[in-house]
Amino acid sequence: MEAYPLVSATGMLGSGFRPDSLDKAIELGARMIGCDAGSTDPGPGPLATGQCMFSKAAAKRDTEVMLSRAVAAKIPLVIGSSGTGGGDQGLAFMLDIVREIAREQGLHFKLAAIHSEVSKETVRAHLQAGKARALPPSKPLTEADIEDALHIVAMMGAEPIQAAVDAGAQIVVTGRSSDTSIFAALALMQGYAPAVVWHMAKILECGAAAVAHRLAPDSMMAVLHEDSVDVFPLREDYRCTPQSVASHTLYENADPFDLKEPSGTLDTREAKYEAISDRAVRVSGSRFHPDPEYTVKLEGVRQGGYSTMLMGGVRDPFIHADLDNWLKQLDDNIKIRVGAMVGNRPYEIVTRVYGRNGVMGALEPEKAVGGHEVFILWDVISPSQELSRVIASSVSHLAVHNPIPKWHGLISGVAFPYSPPELDRGPVYEFHLNHVLVPDSPTSLFCTEFEEV
């Protein structure tokens, strides 16, 4: 079987890479360029708002380098999970960039845009047909979950990308896709073994993250063989070691040995990692277990009210020593005051105490204040921004004068850095779907549009 070289431009479109690295990959015969442009790492915001986590300038620069090389070399380019969240707005953001670059540089190609945003009706139909399953630790999907969603995306496997390439697309820009499908799609079409392909894809999806010491994001190359894959970075000062490549299966996965894909599970227990030079590693021995049921993961976000935030510091050691009681007393006073103002309208105050457990919350084993300052962040959350602000302005007044038994007289116990101290933070979003659908076919949830650019 002929070797199949391919390249991942960088781990996250918009984070950057050296153009030289991609040029070198093309010289080495890369048959496709792939790049992941999405993530759930930055939380529910990007999917909820449609905003990319990177600026247009950052995304455009990386896309420009990839697109010009792919068109010149006449090889496919696959960009997955557009605009961070992969919803229709994120896809439109990426497509506009691609068209703009093509116009500016006079590039021409067949473009495929694969949508992954799914309608509530589609998800409801799968739920009613018994074709929705919860992933741990979530509860079964409900009609209310679907109704509450602002946006729902389905995470495509390799098949919709393969169908687009089969139809003649050279540049494939997708909504939410699994990170690995971007790199697996074309290699599977070439007939390489699924175990080798999916393990390769798992290594490539984060670009140069699998090198021993990454100084800045960059590209990563893979060369597929019949029963193994060679991986190496393109920057001369980077190197892969067996340990650095093996370690990459740990990254952002709950389980490093069983890596779930829509069509099955990559089992890396028996994988071998051998150095074949001082900077390249050969990977072999993984297995791929096809699942009897093809599943597509959903990601969805909903809004839970609006927040007005309030932040302040406390330096008084007597307040620190009695912080729980001081906060409880404040809470009691807030309930009385807010009840008198707004009656039974629902609201919630989330209090984070930095200097104690602000970072770890419920996971923090150290329960006492350790330093000489604490920083308190209050989030007042209610169904409207106006109500949250009304409540927050009372919270700030009650907090600053909240007494402690040590001092006899009116105190000002919170140092606010701003005036006014309240800041409207806007909508509060939440990921609320952690479920898979069993689709009619691997492509049935995705809609592809073609365009001659």
């Binding site: 939380g43 989030d379 990921f431």
Partner: protein, 107 residues
């Protein structure tokens, strides 16, 4: 902890935490030599009951995996709340590993 006692921080070359999707948290403890890795692994310094106690979780929810090829020990468990939701305070899950640094490692 007795002073002078060897800890995870003394032996590991990388201890990190991160989201594994919006609903899970995962912690990697990585070594650069077999001796240090096996010393921590074979003494079961990082174990489900201990992790559950430190983080206030149910032991049944904790996954601990020893990865010999990577010289790494991995711990995963569901987040108390999803990434970036109203009660969360670490969107990337990147600052949840510190309590493991001072775990004592027997010889």
């Amino acid at each position: 902890m007795a002073s002078g006692q060897t800890t995870i921080a003394d032996l590991a070359v990388l201890v990190r935490s991160k989201n594994a999707g919006p609903f899970w948290l995962t912690i990697d403890v990585m070594f650069d030599n077999e001796v240090a890795y096996r010393r921590v692994r074979d003494n079961e310094v990082i174990n489900r009951a201990g992790i559950a106690r430190i983080y206030g979780r149910d032991p049944a929810d904790i996954i601990v995996v020893n990865h010999d090829a990577a010289l790494a020990i991995k711990v995963s468990f569901p987040r108390p709340q999803s990434s970036g939701s109203k009660y969360d305070s670490d969107v990337y899950g990147g600052q949840q590993y510190a309590p493991l640094l001072s775990l004592p490692v027997p010889d």
